[in-house]
Amino acid sequence: MGFLAPWFLAGALAVGVPVWLHLLRQHKSVPLPFSSLMFFERRTQSSVKHRRLRYLLLLALRALLIVVLALAFSKPFTYMVPGLAGSGQKMVVIALDDSFSMRQGDRMERARSEALQLVGGIGAGNKAQVLAFSSGVRMMSDPTDDVAVLRAAISSIVPGDGRGSYAELTRALRSIAQSSRMPVEAHLFSDLQKSSLPSSFADVRLGDGIRLVTHPAATGEQPNFAVESVNAPRRVYDPKKVRIQATVVGYGAERGDLKVSVHLNNREIGSKTLSVPASGRATFDLTVPSLDAPHGFNRGEVRIESRDGFPGDDRYLFSIERADPRPALFVHETKGARSLLYFRAALEASTSSAFVIDAVRPEQAAGISPSRYAFILLSDVSSVPPAFEEALRKYVRAGGSLWIALGRAAAVRNRVPVFDENIAEAVYASRSQERFQTVAWLDPAHPSIRRANRWDGVKFYQVVRVEPGKARVAARLSDDTPLLLEKQVGEGRVLVFASTLDNISNDFPLHASFVPFIEQTSRYLGRIEESGASHTVGTFLELRTQKESGAAVEVLDPQGRRALSLEEAARAETIELASAGFYDVRRPSGRHELVAVNPDRHESDLAVIPAETLALWQNTGQGSKDANPAAGTGVQAGDERKPSSFWWYVMLSALILAVAESLVGNRHLNVEEPVERMEKGAA
């Protein structure tokens, strides 16, 4: 039941008025003079009894009238579910947690054993359904009263690598309650991990008609060490600059010294003893002087020797791709050697130098095929050979990336090559009132600026004002001149930097933000994905781009089985990484990838839900009344169940009560008339 205007229920407090009045009346005993009491006898008991009965009736009528009126004004409604009321049947849902933490000890065996015992006790006429849940819910059986089917479904559940989510389970229970239209008795067999609760408690609100019974599979708090995360490079271009970091955490554990080792292709490449504080974290840092790994993907693993009761999280997988740096073409004028210097220095300063710069002058570029370069940079080039410009256009339309830096030489032209937007003017700050311009606005969403958005103090003395046209402006100077523009041309990208990369037109190369800007822009233009060295179980991996639709993708799961059917291989754009281990992915482009997948480390925290929180969760089920239908599950439940207002019935009751109250009250008034006369006469 709910109320459309629940605030009117406060009007029921007015029930105190008749109570107060009647109490006053009850104690009111005005003495009435009478000529003689010679013929009267004391009959107090009968008098009080009589009075009480009469007043109780009137009081009850008046109080009830006020309550019913308040109820009527609050516009009550109820959900009409024909099958729910009076059927006497219930749906028993047996939900087994198959999350990663259920691998600890004999948790899953205990859960299965208790669930099997429960199946035998399901009453006649009741149906039961078996669910397995972690990050999602799987229906292991249809609703049935066949005990054998239920037992088989329970026995088939094995612990997985997913993260438990009670929110998903609750959502499934609500769905079952709505579809079955019967009261649901949910038996939860789980280790009741606290970390499986959602951040918002409203997500585990059970709703009416659902009763939750928990069957804990964990015996108590278990100290546990785990490799929480590993920070390793996704690609290694220079084997001499490999750094691997790992964080080891102890959940509810005492301080411990653990041996941490890093393995690559099942070969230990380094180890260290790490002191992990009590219930704390410690970071393991390994710099490999020379990574001895073949080209291509390599299987990496960080292991700890914890000797706790949960060895499943003592290893963390990652993959490293050994690759050669990709060539990038740097076209510059003879006078622009300073730009090359700063650009190359910036690229080499980054931890993973993914590019090798080929520097040429414009006249040398005529015979170069742009397609072999990851990206091409025209650094303040005054003239581009027409053949090269045409080749650049084709290169960009086919998906290539072009970076154009504009300076005094480039401003000679009226138009930016390939970018195809007009150059308005070359702005010299020293000739105007200000001596330099600063960056006034940056688009933090642009990949070039995302991690290097602090351009404070960078002075731009000379910029070329380009009409942006349809281009995206990622940075503007204080005089609103576009500084960084990007335009999609065909499948490729053209990025225009309206100044030079030397320290003549600006002092940008002398600032700390220059290196990340160069590195990120190069990676962005070179289309190097910034994916990590590992993924978490339950996340989705993108299999193809829009351009690659129709081409087959091949995915082998950690057990070496094909993860996709033939149809999925041709159409699926993503795949859920459901198991821990290494996925072997062959993309439509023929590129081979090794994806390392680890269980969510929230599962390593084996702390259980506090008893009061658990009771609170259970209380959100049966017996809880959702007063506000616009919040929580009320809407979802109400979407299928029809809200039915019974306002008119309440008003009819109020009318009947009003008539009854009038009749009874009128009788009291009639009684008082002779008494008043007597009082007047006596006076």
Binding site: R51, P674, M678
Partner: protein
């Protein structure tokens, strides 16, 4: 006809008692004219044999001359009949469920009797009492007696409780001549005691009439709500239930009335119940009708 049945409430609005009495008496006298025997006293002159000690001035010398016997000539208005009104002013007489309480009603009755008696030249007196004799006006036919009586009646005030025994001993001292005694009271006393107290008046040759004044609410209480009643004389309070008022009380008061009536008649006393809710002249008419029939 307009004045035949006078509502006590209407009479209460009339300021002077003389006017009230005149209104009442003239009303029912006009309605019952040509009734020669109508009246309180034996209205005729008489001759009585001379007795030693009689005043010689009253001897009818003409009769003596013709018959040689001494007779005393008795004129109208000089008969031995006198009317004495005993008005109870105890606190209980102050009760009334409407605009006229019992004392007011008794005043009207008293005034009406005085007026009627005066018009018939009967000597009329008044005794006001509660537990003591509060006022006494000896019966007389002197001029101005009516106004003295009416003034005394008008000035009566409610007293304390009723005690018949004490004042009635004094009454016997006041009553030296045979006559008519009218007792106006609500008689909240044991009928045995009342009759025993009043009875001696009858022994001396007086004709005694008991006017029992009761309010309608006293005869048939209509309250149906539990009430805390306070005795107007003793100030004691009692919570009574409506059921009791409807049933047992009515039975008891009726038994009291009947007991008083029977005991009074057994003692040779006239008893008449006056409901103060009824019109005054109607009550008097009824009583006088009954009395006439008996006479």
């Amino acid at each position: 006809m307009l004045q035949r049945f006078l509502d006590p409430a209407t009479l209460a609005s009339i300021s002077g008692l003389d006017l009230v009495a005149r209104t009442v008496v003239d009303g029912f006298v006009a309605g019952l004219h040509r009734s020669p025997d109508f009246g309180f006293s034996q209205e005729f002159a008489e001759y009585r044999a001379y007795a030693q000690g009689d005043d010689l001035r009253h001897v009818d010398w003409n009769v003596f001359a013709r018959t040689d016997r001494c007779y005393l000539k008795r004129f109208r208005g000089e008969t031995n009949t006198q009317i004495l009104i005993l008005l109870d002013t105890s606190a209980s007489m102050g009760f009334g469920s409407h605009s006229v309480n019992k004392l007011d009603y008794a005043r009207f009755v008293s005034a009406s009797i005085c007026y009627l008696a005066n018009s018939q030249r009967d000597a009329t007196g008044l005794i006001v009492f509660d537990d003591e004799v509060r006022n006494y006006i000896s019966p007389s036919t002197r001029q101005g007696q009516l106004f003295r009586l009416l003034h005394a009646i008008e000035k009566t005030e409610l007293g304390s409780h009723t005690d018949f025994s004490k004042p009635f001993i004094h009454f016997q001292e006041f009553l030296r001549r045979r006559g008519l005694v009218v007792v106006l009271s609500d008689f909240y006393e044991d009928p045995e005691k009342i009759v025993r107290a009043v009875e001696p008046l009858r022994y001396r040759g007086n004709e005694v009439i008991l006017f029992h004044l009761l309010d309608p609410q006293e005869i048939a209480p209509q309250f149906r709500e539990p009430l805390l009643l306070v005795d107007m004389e003793t100030q004691t309070s009692l919570e009574v239930s409506p059921d009791y008022g409807r049933n047992e009380y009515r039975t008891k008061i009726q038994a009291h009335i009947e007991d008083l009536r029977s005991k009074a008649r057994g003692a040779g006393l006239d008893y008449f119940l006056m409901d103060t809710g009824r019109p005054l002249d109607e009550g008097l008419r009824e009583y006088l009708g009954v009395r006439q029939g008996r006479l």
